[in-house]
């Protein structure tokens, strides 16, 4: 490149600096696998703290699909970036720190469908299809045997379509959409024993 068109960035050694930032072989690696060698990509997601009814905002920093940091959401009008002890340790649900200070998956977290057979002393691991199929069968069996179609109320026959033989407990951990579906399916099954944490 002739003298007159000398680039400012080159003069100022900025291009070299940039290269040094990305470490030797950055270009090659990119060509090879499109992988970033030393540049750390992070995405930010809003979530709502799952503890208590204040509804604080949390920003989760996610790298390679894994939460690496969770901090209070500064834009959130209620908590304005702060959090309490439970909120700031929320990622503990996924990860705990071992005695060397390394993050390891929370050993107690359930990650499999478990089934306990009558009289058995242990759980066995099952897959979703089997579990959903079997549960649906149990529900159907119970419902078909116990559903009251009608009841006589002071001499008059009334359609009631209910069963008292199933209990249904929803949860305040679940989202509004989830609870809506819970209610819908419970009523569809004729269930009348319905309750959740609001009473507990």
């Amino acid at each position: 490149m002739e003298l007159t068109r000398r680039s400012f960035l080159k003069l100022a050694g900025v291009t070299a600096a940039a290269a040094s930032l990305t470490s030797v072989g950055y270009g090659k690696a990119q060509a090879a696998s499109g992988e970033r060698l030393r540049i750390r990509y992070t995405q930010e997601f809003h979530t709502i703290c799952t503890f208590c009814g204040v509804g604080c905002g949390i920003i989760c920093n996610v790298r390679d699909g894994v939460i690496v940091n969770a901090e209070g959401d500064p834009d959130h009008p209620i908590n304005e970036g702060t959090l309490c002890s439970k909120g700031s340790s929320i990622s503990n649900v996924s990860y705990v720190f071992d005695d060397k200070g390394k993050p390891v998956p929370n050993p107690k977290r359930l990650t499999n469908v478990l089934y306990r057979a009558p009289g058995s002393g242990r759980y066995e691991i099952k897959d979703w299809d089997w579990a959903l199929e079997t549960i649906a069968k149990r529900i159907k069996d119970t419902r078909d045997r116990t559903l009251e179609e009608t009841a006589v109320v002071d001499g008059r026959e009334v359609t009631v379509n209910r069963t008292n033989a199933m209990g249904w407990l929803g949860s305040a951990f679940c989202t509004g959409e989830e609870n809506y579906l819970f209610h819908k399916m419970a009523r569809a099954m004729g269930i009348i024993n319905i309750d959740h944490c609001a009473r507990l």
Binding site: C52, L132, D154, C197, L200
Partner: protein
Amino acid sequence: MTNHWNDYQHSDVIMAIGGNTAENHPISMKWIEKAREQKGAKLITVDPRFNRTAAVSDLYVPLRPGTNTAYLGGLVKYILDNELYHKEYVQHYTNGTYLIEEGFDFNDIEGVFSGIEDDPARNAKKYDRTTWQYQRDENGEVKKDPTMEDPNCVLQLMRKHYERYSIANISKITGCPEETLEESYELFCTTGEPGKAGNILYAMGITQFTHGAQNVRSIAVVQLLLGNMGMAGGGVNAQRGQSNVQGATDMAILYHIIPGYMATPQQAAHPTLNDYNEKETPASGWWSNKPKYLVSLLKAFYGENATPANEFGYQWLPKLDGRDHSHIAMYKDMSEGKVEGMICWADNPAVSGPTAGAKRQYSSKLKWLVSVDLFENETASFWKPEAGANPEEIDTEVFVLPAAASYEREGNKANSGRWIQWQWKAQEAPGDCKSDLWIANELFKKLQELYREEGGTVPEQITKMHWDYDGPDGQVDIVKVCKDINGYNVKDGSLVNNFVALKYDGSTACGNWLYSGYYNNLENPPTKRRKPEKEGIGSHLEWAFAWPLNRRIVYNRASADPSGKPWNPDVPQVWWDEIEGRWKTNDVPDFNVNIPPLESAKTPFIMLPEGQGRLFSAFVNDGPFPTHYEPADSPVPNLLYPDATYNPISQRFYEDHVVETDEEKERYPYVLTTYRVVEHYQSGIMTRNMPWLNEMMPELFVEIDEELAADLGIQNGDRVAIESKRLYNNGEQQSIEAKACVTKRLSPFMINGQKKHVVGLPFHWGYMGMNTGAVANDLTPSVGDPNTTIPEFKASLCNIRRVG
């Protein structure tokens, strides 16, 4: 909450009663501190224990567990005796001027209102409410006395009702020194002055009693008298314990309602849709729209299968048999083998339910149990040796389904302030974990499939249910669920703007009218909004969506006087602009802005048929005025009403659950109250699996005052056994164990001359997880409030002794 968290900054006096806000809602202290810093607000804590909130508050009022109605009743009397109520407000915005039927009466000996009668079905009492009605003239108009002098007007009846609630009496009942009572009453009554705002915030320390609803009523009465309803910085503020307990309630995960707070059909009263509409629809007030909401809900439920011909599928909704079906009743039926299957979505009643020990045994009567949770909880593992059970003897099939954590799934969560906020998904759930939405969708699809193939009993009830939530990828598409809830026009599927658009003719479908508008467009749904506030008073109208209609403070018409002048011009909600002749607002108005102020002033409480705040309410099962009843398990007789003990209307399920005889009262001499600590959460199944929190709160402990500890020779850290009647089975007394916490923060109460000790016990522990301990709720009785059947966790009787 009638108000919301940010609004706390506008309060002049904040009373935390039956709720330990610093402990269980630490961020609320941010706004309380702000109010104290900026306008010198005062914080009063009313609680049996000198708790974390008390530690930083301006005034602490000790109170024997279960005497909140008495304390608040005393406050009402203080307000009336000293004429401290907000006269103009009471006159115009409450039913204080209404005349009640001549026959209305209260029996000072038995402590019951006129119309009391036996209720054999529940083996309790119930009320015939004919004498509780308003007097009406020939046109059916309610008779009123604007001067509020008539002996039959509500205000005068109220004076009469509360005659006995003198500070001296209240002190004898609650055990709180008279001067402290007076100081707190005086301080809170300063908010009766027009323009001042008093904020009463509470939690389960108010509701979890056999007279819980009456406690809440008392708060409402106080706030109406002092003119604190609808005001910024005022309100009746229930601080919810979980991130979406508000939402779950809105979605009616409760036996007695369907989404949007409409009653579940009863076989006796509502055989047909018409019966339902006739009986459930008031002539006036917002609820006169109820039929529109019900039909729209049925359309959302049964889609094209809901037609005028088949009452929009009304008959497919299960009808109640008139019995209680809340979780205490459910477990009783379970114990009798009537309930054979149970599904628990992230719920852990084996720890959080009353008389939990017995419940775990009843569970073995189940044929099958499904538990969906993040960690293996006590409810699912009731059959394990850890639970003291013998697996071989238990034939229950247990399915444990792994769920996704909050930040592993998306959806809306409604906080205590009714803000419906969107929770975005940050990462994929590990292993086989799935969101509850996915599980629910797949499970019901399977069920419909089964019924389509095999048929069965009334298959239509399941097959006719409108269930189309799959996205193009065959996975559940949450937006489809949102549309269902928000509501849409049936013919073209276009989203309705809000519930005003809902129709009775079946042309609209809406899963929950209260949520209508929260997702009324796909581009920028209100629930996902994140715009900074413009109003300058902390309304944050463009942040998320608040039901109803994005209203932040409900009944906000009452924040201005009849002519439309705000009581407090510094933080106006709504105000009438004389010059422009129209309303200006900082919030979504809770009234018709197209009628002149003096008109809308007649119905500021738009949800009620009478349109005015109820100092007197005939709609409560256990009396129109809050009345002091002892808890079911009480160490003393009812001081005010000799023949009364605890709430005669209350829900009692087991003959042997409550301490009745003097002999028993000697066996269980101490008052037990349960509560939470900041380091742990609810049944603890999450936090007991978080090491750092475990380090801070490693074990179950029981708080005992020093005097009692000395009497029983208990040292700090000793192992202590706690016994209650619930653990006394066929002549044998069982107990649970906890470490002693001998503390100065508890002191004995002088109750009418007798010394009574209170014992405190957190309920976070169970036998599963990283950090285990005894289940506190094994001790608590299965008795409930007559309106809500909420169990009485906060006050019962127990005995404690040193172990070894």
